[in-house]
């Protein structure tokens, strides 16, 4: 879908922000550009919609070089959300979400249907929010509107530059969960920039870790955490490695599948263990309930059971892995 071929960017002052980047974002996946500030992750992303022009190499979008396309048309086909949100303060929520559809000349009714649907998807009841102005919203609500706006014209590709960066941890985590839920429905190709390794692991199908403009490792989250490609990746993960290891393993892959016709055990009414959740989540639920055995749900469906002992075994396994690595290094 998006292919970086030997892409480099050298800024006017001679700073080389991106060096010879080769990368492919596959259709429908969420690829995370992870790195510290100055790693070239945002620059790489902005070269896709040509907010920053490439110095060398090329970026192909559905097989076409982005530089050969009309820049305005190109941008209107790519959703864009940034950390500072940048909602238009003089437009209503509806007006903000409908910006790109309006630029594309959609008719009024279609724009309305689209914005209402997006607001609904983002958990903002349209009748309540459509006519509000940004200064009447909370930070979390604004961020939701920002994301809804990026999806405005139903673009196949969405660029997101730390879209949840400006939020408090609780709201951020909530929005991440909601977005994951949404993402599983809409299946967009997403290029997602973050400096937060937990967010990367949580949100990404694959992670591209950049440092000083150079791609250090491109891998699925579990692979990245468990098999760092080089010393830099290892150091970047640092002490969070243990936690990340649990985070990359899902409950689903660790549970015992439900036998055919098996009934759900008496579930603790308020907390449910989700199949898609990570083992960190599982650990938390065990701690809160005090149970030794928990039913796992996939949506509303009972999917299997997770034994506390199994979880503890995995943890000690992870500990072993990580200590082995420490000895090796």
């Amino acid at each position: 879908m998006i292919v970086f071929e030997g892409v480099s960017k050298t800024f006017a002052g001679g700073v080389e922000a991106v060096k010879n980047l080769d990368l492919e974002v596959r259709e429908g996946e969420t690829l995370i550009l992870l790195g510290t500030s100055g790693s070239g992750k945002t620059t790489s992303m902005k070269m896709v919609n040509r907010l920053i022009e490439i110095t060398a190499g090329r970026i192909l979008l559905e097989g076409e070089d982005v530089r050969e396309k009309d820049v305005i048309e190109l941008r209107r086909r790519i959703g864009y959300a940034i950390q500072h949100i940048g909602l238009f303060p003089h437009m209503t929520v509806g007006g903000n979400v409908g910006v790109v559809p309006r630029l594309l000349g959609w008719d009024r009714e279609r724009i309305r249907r689209r914005t209402d649907r997006l607001l609904d998807m983002m958990g903002l009841p349209p009748d309540d929010f459509r006519d509000r102005y940004p200064n009447q919203l909370s930070g979390g609500q604004r961020q939701r509107v920002g994301v809804a706006r990026a999806l405005g014209a139903d673009p196949p590709i969405v660029l997101m530059d730390e879209p949840f960066g400006a939020l408090d941890p609780i709201t951020r985590s909530q929005l991440q969960d909601e977005f994951l839920e949404l993402e599983s429905e809409i299946r967009k190709t997403i290029l997602f920039v973050t400096h937060d390794v937990f967010e990367a692991v949580k949100m990404g199908d694959r992670i591209a870790l950049l440092d000083e403009g150079v791609l250090q490792q491109l891998a699925e989250p579990a692979e990245l955490v468990e098999h760092p490609a080089n010393e830099f990746v290892d150091q970047f993960l640092g002490q969070q490695r243990f936690q990340l290891a649990l985070l990359t393993r899902s409950v689903k892959e660790s549970m015992e599948r439900r036998e055919a016709g098996g009934e759900a055990p008496e579930p603790p009414p308020d907390v449910r263990l989700r199949a898609r959740g990570s083992l960190v989540e599982a650990l938390d639920v065990f701690k809160r309930t005090g149970e030794t055995r928990l039913p796992v749900y996939e949506g509303e469906r009972y999917a299997g059971t997770l034994q506390k002992q199994r979880l503890l075994d995995i943890i000690s396994g992870v500990l072993g892995e990580t200590s082995e690595q420490e000895e090796a290094s």
Partner: protein, 530 residues
């Protein structure tokens, strides 16, 4: 409304109030005093004020001085009523205000003669007719003044030569013809003068011998004496005769009163009323000549105007001027602002967007420098520069140019800063979502900049309205014309008539633009938080 604006509005209102207070006093401050009869009687002060549509700003002196005329002379009083024939008028160099609306009843003096006498003595009528219209109030007052202290009015008349011509042309009595004529000399001083004058003329120009008979005070008796042949000639006051002899109501109008009296004397009494002598016995309003000349008050209407509030009087008189100058002022300001807007809006936008960093600094410095030139000097400078490049140095063009130069900076600066201050992330998103530069400008940057740009326009407007009062110096017109005239002649009313509309114009424009600003400001920028 914020505190700063409230304070500003307060200061302006106070200034306006001060000017109004200063100019809302009567144009001329006069101390009136009136005799008891004039204060209370019919056709007195109240009716006079009604007739001329004014009231004295200062209450009449209470109680009135015994000798009003002397009081005016001593400057204790400025205006008073008087008898038209009061010799004090001449003594104290007073003038009688012309009764241009004919409020006072005319009461002219004329000679009344038995018709038989005129028939009998050929040429007598011509001699007497010759006196008609020759005796003015002023002459009579002067004669009476000279006669004060002298006992013999006859001597005064002769010595004075007031009737010089008639006496000089004395033909001497016709010899041998000792015919006599009886002339009544009434008590009234004015009539007394008339009798003596008639007697002197008769003596000088006909052969008749004059018998002077003291006439007493009663007019009715006097007329009866003529009818019965006890006397031949006596002067009367026409209005008094109508009233006392014929019991008629007062007749307004000199000619009509005379005509009426003449008819009735002829028909009912067989007496001939000759043409009026020229003076009359009536009430009048007098002032010192000095005051009258200084304040240009020569009629009762002038007096009435002088008692109007300065500003009111001025506006009444020059309302049209003020209106047209105000419109001119508005036009000057409007044109200058339109040009300034047309220039500084695009330039401000360009400066905010250009990569050429020095440009903004340069242009702002120049505009700022212009602003530091005192407005008066700028107007002069523009005229000077226009002269150097052979453009007209006088008129609307240099005037408007100076105003435009002044209005540039606030609009330019506010446009530039407001566009620069638009949140960078908003612009980035707009670009990232595929807006063209044009769309970003018109859909994002300008709407977000409107409050600040409008604030600049408001500042420019208020300044321009103020400074537009100065372009009168290069002959561009406007309210400055009135202000300068007022300054030169030191007339506060003219000054106020120029300043007040300018101030009001500035206030109204500011409020109107504030309303426009509110209207144009996108709703999302108005509310604070949510």
């Amino acid at each position: 409304m914020n505190v700063k604006r409230a304070v500003l509005a307060g200061v302006i209102v106070a200034a306006v109030a001060l000017i109004v207070f200063a100019t809302y006093r009567p144009r001329v401050s006069l101390q009136p005093a009136f005799s008891g009869g004039f204060l209370e009687g019919p056709r007195g002060l109240e009716d006079l004020q009604d007739a001329y549509g004014f009231s004295f700003a200062t209450d009449p002196l209470e109680p009135p001085p015994d000798d009003l005329i002397a009081a005016i002379g001593e400057e204790r009083v400025d205006v008073a009523d008087a008898h038209t024939l009061d010799p004090g008028i001449e003594k104290h160099d007073l003038i009688v205000l012309q009764d241009n609306k004919r409020f006072f009843l005319p009461n002219q003096a004329a000679l009344l003669v038995r018709s038989g006498v005129l028939e009998k003595h050929d040429g007598l009528k011509d001699v007497l007719d010759d006196l008609a219209g020759r005796m003015s109030n002023e002459l009579v007052r002067n004669l009476l003044l000279t006669a004060e202290g002298e006992t013999d009015l006859q001597t005064v008349l002769g010595d004075l030569g007031a009737l010089h011509r008639f006496i000089e042309e004395r033909q001497g009595p016709a010899t041998g013809n000792e015919e006599r004529i009886a002339v009544v000399v009434p008590d009234d001083p004015g009539l007394r003068v008339a009798s003596e004058a008639a007697a002197l003329v008769i003596e000088a120009q006909t052969g008749l011998v004059v018998d002077r008979k003291e006439g007493g005070t009663s007019l009715k008796d006097g007329v009866s004496a003529l009818v019965e042949g006890d006397a031949d000639l006596r002067p009367v006051y026409i209005q008094a005769a109508l009233d006392e002899v014929f019991n008629r109501d007062a007749v307004q109008g000199k000619r009509k009163a005379h005509g009426t009296a003449k008819d009735r004397f002829r028909k009912e009494k067989d007496l001939v009323l000759l043409d009026p002598l020229g003076f009359e016995a009536a009430p009048a309003v007098v002032m010192r000549r000095e005051t009258s000349e200084a304040e240009a008050i020569s009629t009762l209407s002038d007096l009435s105007n002088a008692q109007r509030k300065r500003l009111v009087a001025f506006v009444e008189e020059h309302g049209g001027d003020i209106l047209s100058l105000t419109l001119e002022h508005l036009a000057l300001t409007g044109i200058a602002l339109a040009i300034a807007l047309a220039v500084s809006l695009p330039v401000g936008i360009w400066l905010a967007k250009t990569r050429f960093e020095g440009a903004a600094f340069g242009v702002m410095s120049v505009a700022g420098m212009i602003q530091t030139i005192p407005s008066l000097a700028l107007v002069a400078l523009v005229a000077l520069l226009f002269g150097l490049i052979m453009l007209p140095t006088v008129g609307k063009v240099p005037g408007v140019t100076a105003l435009v130069l002044y209005a540039l900076l606030p609009i330019l600066r506010n446009t530039y800063t407001s566009i620069r201050q638009v949140d960078a992330s908003v612009i980035e998103v707009a670009r990232g979502m595929g807006m063209t530069s044009r769309q970003i400008l018109f859909k994002v940057e300008l709407p977000l900049s409107i409050p600040v740009i409008m604030a600049g326009v408001r500042i420019a407007t208020v300044w321009t309205i103020g400074i537009a009062t100065l372009v009168t110096l290069v002959g561009a017109g406007g309210l400055g014309d009135l202000i300068m005239r007022g300054l030169r002649s030191f007339h506060l009313d003219e000054l106020a008539a120029g300043t007040l509309p300018a101030a009001v114009l500035a206030l109204i424009s500011d409020f109107a633009l504030a309303g426009l600003e509110k209207l144009l400001t996108p709703s999302g920028l108005k509310e604070e938080g949510g």
